[in-house]
């Protein structure tokens, strides 16, 4: 007993002040890659190396559509290492969670040179504001009910266990999710939110649907990680259905491979309206 108290006193308080203060992340951390669409001379190199097709190019006559999907990105940084990658820069941004899947997707149209490089940017897209507004009104009703205290049931619908490592971290003394009145519960019957990882495998489909059915309304579903959002590197196949939204309605998407604990916190607090989208 004396040893326990001694060690507790010696350790002191270790809990982070995030999100009150910005997260202390290593300068070597690989976060969101950003694209200087105006200056980007050729998207083919980055599209070629991207392991999850988060960067895709489609050419039609002398025009190209480039799609960048942060819901597929595994933050490997290969796109920024290609020759044409000087317009691509890896940042330390990680608070990418959003209510709206389309906000994770950027499309850009280019006029092409004869050699297939970009001559000029014709247009680029961002999220549609209309969708955002409807989303906002719907959200407030649920937030009023769940905003103060929240019970989460985590469901692994097929993940590699990477996301679980970081989710478990939310319970450690550093991130201590209970300081927000949020806790992980053992049964979906006690839960307000399902925190789902995976690509949803064929073998977990039924269990996931049943878990959702056993969760009392109102309820929220949060899709975690590249696989949970889009199927990630596993995609769709005889064994995998792809992202969680193929099976359940999703309220919030948290990109990452896996998302770091602060990114998970940000996404969970966003889902209950206690933080805003960045």
């Amino acid at each position: 007993m004396f040893k326990i108290i001694q060690q507790t006193i010696r350790t002191g308080i270790v809990t982070t002040s995030y999100p009150g203060t910005p997260a202390d992340v290593s300068p070597f951390f690989r976060g969101k890659p950003v694209f200087d669409l105006e200056r980007w001379r050729d998207a083919r190199g980055p599209a070629e190396v991207c392991p999850t097709q988060a960067i895709a190019v489609q050419d039609e006559a002398d025009q190209r559509t480039v799609t960048i999907d942060y819901g597929r990105c595994v933050f490997c940084g290969l796109c920024a290492e290609t020759e044409s990658g000087s317009a691509v820069r890896v940042t330390r941004e990680f608070e990418l969670a959003t209510h709206d899947r389309s906000r994770l997707i950027v499309t850009a149209n280019y006029q092409l040179n004869l050699d297939g490089s970009h001559a000029r940017l014709l247009k680029c897209s961002k999220a549609e504001d209309e969708v955002e507004k409807t989303g906002n009104t719907l959200r407030t009703a649920i937030q009023e009910l769940l905003g103060r205290s929240l019970s989460i049931r985590q469901v692994d619908a097929g993940s590699c266990n990477g996301c679980e490592i970081e989710i478990v971290g939310l319970n450690n003394p550093i991130y201590d999710i209970e300081r927000f009145g949020i806790h992980f519960v053992a049964s979906p019957r006690h839960a307000d939110m399902l925190l789902v990882t995976g690509p949803v495998t064929r073998n977990m489909e039924l269990a996931l649907v049943k878990t959702f059915g056993a969760t009392p309304s109102p309820k929220l579903v949060v899709a975690v990680g590249a696989c949970g959002i889009s199927g990630g590197i596993f995609g769709e196949s005889y064994a995998s259905l792809g992202g969680v939204e193929k099976v359940l309605p999703v309220n919030v998407y948290i990109p990452g491979c896996p998302p770091r604990p602060q990114a998970l916190l940000h996404g969970i607090l966003l889902a209950v309206g206690r933080l805003a989208e960045k």
């Binding site: 392991p51 266990n161 003394p173 049964s187 995998s240």
Partner: protein, 521 residues
């Protein structure tokens, strides 16, 4: 000790063995029982893994592969046994070698071959409600959407007797862990019999390897089992490097060694804390999880990723060390050592923890050997295997370490193995950081030649990870076989829980801490 030469094999088996190229011995047909028996009995060989390959297009047959190792011999011996497509049958070894039970059934499920004489030939990988498909055959399309599944998902053996109950658990468990289904037969509190159904997280990974260019497949290897990203990534890259005869620069080998040990330490520390939690010693877990967080941050500081992802590549590692990183690692090692000593002192100070863990979940050494248990679970039950020592890779031939082995086989000793290994890993890290890490970090990229086979092994923190590849044209793979140590070790859990009370199941399970995703792929 060395494996028999081809003339020696021919002398004993005559026409049964056809040829030998490098480590591959080609047999005349699927019959290998005699050879396997002699290899095990007279040459002290241990069977590492059994798997199949669909070579109907090129060679007109399926191949079964039987991989052997010998203590004190760094090479492998691999039997390649053709199975005719008009026959599909091969003799089962499971009755004599329970270690290949699941693996032979996987061959049945994925390829539609038939293990004749298997004592329990039911499906293992595909659930009972799957249609009759053969996903790893070349003519099965990866991207197909199978129709909805119908019928019973699992058909269990009944457990009968007065007062005997069957308790189904999962696939969605109470904690933040992976999915699997456990069916306990209990008489009162004690567990009579446990039946496992895994493969809930089957993602078609081995098939997907055949669809991706090799540089992308590295990322798939990192996603086989999230907590072993670097070990699986390294095992995969090593296999490609062997196939293409790529020489990895010395400092890259040392960097891999460092990162492999960092992966081992963060997982062992987390497990020690989790074992303490499962017997109610929550304070110890608070310190362990604090230490784990420190280690994940350290991973990020030296690699850019908390789980050491996106670092390993074919030919070495992706980035050179940056100024300051090495010093940072050195001072972190000192802090880690001090913190770990405090954590262990705390756990040792609790008699009630020791009392709960000793004699709980015993896996007897003879059972462990028969079942082919590897890694932490094996070493706690007298199985003295360690790929780092037995088949040196990365820079393990340049560092010294001890492999802890105990005979008691209970939860306490599985924790003790982890404690000893963390201390050994700290020593490895210390001597590795003394080496020059600033040399070349990666061999020059070059095309990977087609139709080369290579095996690679890594001692992940759970145990022996095996990757086997056959390369194809255009920097792609024809086949990638992955064996996570968990696949061998699940049956150990079944043995270890028998006679224990159901309330001790979580701590016994945690003391093995097997990977579901690594098993299911």
């Amino acid at each position: 000790m060395a494996f028999p030469t081809f003339p020696e094999l021919q002398q004993t088996f005559g026409e049964q063995v056809r040829s030998m190229h490098g480590e591959y011995v080609q047999t005349a047909g699927p019959e290998v029982r005699g050879i396997v028996e002699v290899l095990r009995r007279d040459w002290g060989a241990r069977i590492v893994t059994v798997f199949a390959e669909d070579r109907r297009a090129d060679d007109g047959v399926f191949f079964n592969y039987y991989v052997f190792e010998q203590l004190g011999n760094p090479s492998y011996l691999i039997l390649r046994a053709p199975v005719r497509p008009d026959d599909l049958e091969f003799p089962s070894l499971s009755a004599e070698i329970p270690a290949v039970n699941w693996q032979e059934r996987e061959i049945q499920d994925w390829f539609g071959l038939k293990a004749v004489g298997h004592p329990n030939p039911r499906r293992v990988a595909m659930h009972d409600n799957w249609p009759d498909v053969r996903p790893l055959r070349k003519d099965f399309p990866f991207a197909i959407a199978l129709p909805p599944f119908e019928g019973e998902r699992h058909i269990y053996r009944p457990a009968l007797g007065e007062g005997v109950l069957q308790v189904p658990v999962g696939p969605v468990h109470a904690g933040i862990i992976e999915p699997g289904h456990f069916n306990f037969a209990v008489a009162g509190e004690p567990i009579l019999y446990l039946q496992l159904r895994m493969f809930y997280t089957h993602k078609g990974t081995e098939k997907l390897f055949e669809k991706l260019p090799i540089h992308k497949a590295v990322f798939l290897a990192e996603s086989i089992s999230g907590d072993s990203s670097f070990s699986h990534g390294t095992a995969f890259c090593q296999a490609i490097e062997r196939a293409a005869e790529i020489e990895v620069p010395q400092s890259a080998l040392m960097t891999r060694t460092i990162l492999l040990e960092l992966e081992r330490i963060y997982n062992h520390v987390a497990d020690i804390g989790a074992i303490a939690t499962d017997v109610g010693f929550v304070v110890a877990n608070a310190h362990a999880s604090r230490l784990r967080e420190m280690l994940l941050n350290l991973n990020e500081q030296v690699s850019g990723s908390r789980l050491l992802r996106g670092v390993v590549c074919v030919g070495g590692v992706r980035r050179p060390w940056q100024a300051g990183q090495q010093n940072l690692l050195r001072s972190a090692i000192d802090l880690l050592e001090k913190e770990f000593e405090n954590l262990i002192a705390l756990i040792y100070s609790s008699d009630s923890t020791r009392d709960r863990l000793e004699h709980t979940g015993i896996l007897r050494p003879e059972k462990a050997r028969d079942l082919g248990i590897v890694g932490v679970g094996g070493r706690a039950s007298g199985v003295d295997l360690d790929v780092r020592r037995d088949h040196p890779y990365a820079a393990y031939d340049q560092v010294t370490f001890r492999t802890p082995v105990y005979q008691a086989g209970d939860v306490w000793h599985r924790m003790q193995v982890r404690i000893d290994e963390v201390i050994e890993s700290i020593n490895i890290l210390r001597s590795a950081t003394e080496h020059n890490l600033y040399g070349a970090h990666c061999a020059a990229p070059r095309p990977i030649p087609s139709d080369r086979c290579a095996i690679s092994a890594v001692e992940g923190w759970r145990g022996e990870i095996i990757h086997w590849v056959r390369t194809g044209p255009g920097n792609r793979l024809e086949r990638c076989k992955i064996k996570d140590p968990s696949l061998n070790n699940w049956p150990a859990l079944v043995e270890a829980v028998q006679g224990n009370i159901i309330a001790d199941f979580p701590v016994i399970n945690k003391s093995f801490n097997l990977s579901y995703s690594g098993t299911d792929r």
